[in-house]
Amino acid sequence: MKIIESYNDFNLTVQSKKVIYKQMHKQGYLEAIKSYVPKGKSVWIDSNGDSIQENIIAFEHRKWQGVFDPRVPIKYYNEFKSKTMFQAINKYIKPTSVVIYESEEFRYVTTDTLCDNLKFLHDSVDAKTLIYIDLIGVDYNKLKYTKEKVIHDIKINFGRKISVHVLDHFKYLLEIN
């Protein structure tokens, strides 16, 4: 019997990565999120974007490269917080929106990291940016603070630059304009 503590204890096969990616991207709020996406080109980052649709350009982290059908046009990146990547998106794709849905960059993060990542997107993207947040997956002191306080603090940090849409209990869509 082998006792395992974490993912560091073994190597993942491509098949295992497919199972994990699917588990991380259940997409239960896809239709709700699409209703906020404006017409025009839309860049979906780490969001299982349907890149078969000609108006969607999907970006995925390079570690997931084997997960997707190689015939599907997906662009792979090494680092999410890359100014160069977003400069290229702004200049060459000129999207009307960027969507971040169930991304690892906004999961298991502290509220400080969450705000840093939002600020990075605000400063880097020249389009409407939609970010799905499930506060269940955010790391904060859940005995001390309510979810309403966390959302309130985000609003205070960003003021009018951010709109908050409630999708469900703990689930929000943040819109940066």
Binding site: K2, I3, I136, D139, N141
Partner: protein
């Protein structure tokens, strides 16, 4: 339907056990254990029973408020040996409380100490827990009360 625990265990060839599950198995042995919450995985591994006995296992792996958690644990607070296993992401409060310790792991320990007053409690947790320790399959925050 295959559980998320079983799906992840299948990533590794051979017979495997998650560290947090093994701790539970080692703690209880063969004597009857009153099971509460997400204990299905242990049905064939522990002598689980429906009525409170001298041992109890509570696994909290669904969204649970602090008030609900206190109510859930109240019936087992006098039991000799208790393991409370909590997915700390799934706990929430409906009111801000400045008296609570700033460190969430300590705050959870104080919460459990307040229920199991004066008891010895061994506390296991993963600092800065991310998604690498199978927490949503089997909670990594555990309190062993004796």
């Amino acid at each position: 339907m295959t559980s998320w625990r079983e799906k992840q265990k299948a990533f590794i060839p051979g017979e495997v056990e998650l560290l947090q599950d093994q701790r539970i198995l080692d703690f209880f042995g063969k004597l009857p254990v009153y099971g509460m919450g997400d204990v299905n995985y242990f049905r064939d591994k522990l002598n689980l029973v429906q009525e409170p006995v001298h041992q109890a296992l509570a696994i909290i792996n669904v969204k649970t408020s602090d008030t609900e958690l206190a109510q859930l644990l109240r019936p087992i607070k006098k039991i000799d040996k208790v393991c409370v296993s909590i997915n700390k992401f799934l706990i929430y409060t409906n009111s801000n409380n400045n008296q609570v310790d700033d460190d969430y792991d300590n705050a959870l320990l104080h919460f459990i100490q307040n229920i199991f007053k004066g008891r010895r409690i061994d506390h296991y947790f993963v600092k800065d827990l991310k998604g690498h320790h199978f927490n949503f399959a089997s909670p990594t925050t555990q309190f062993f009360v004796q």
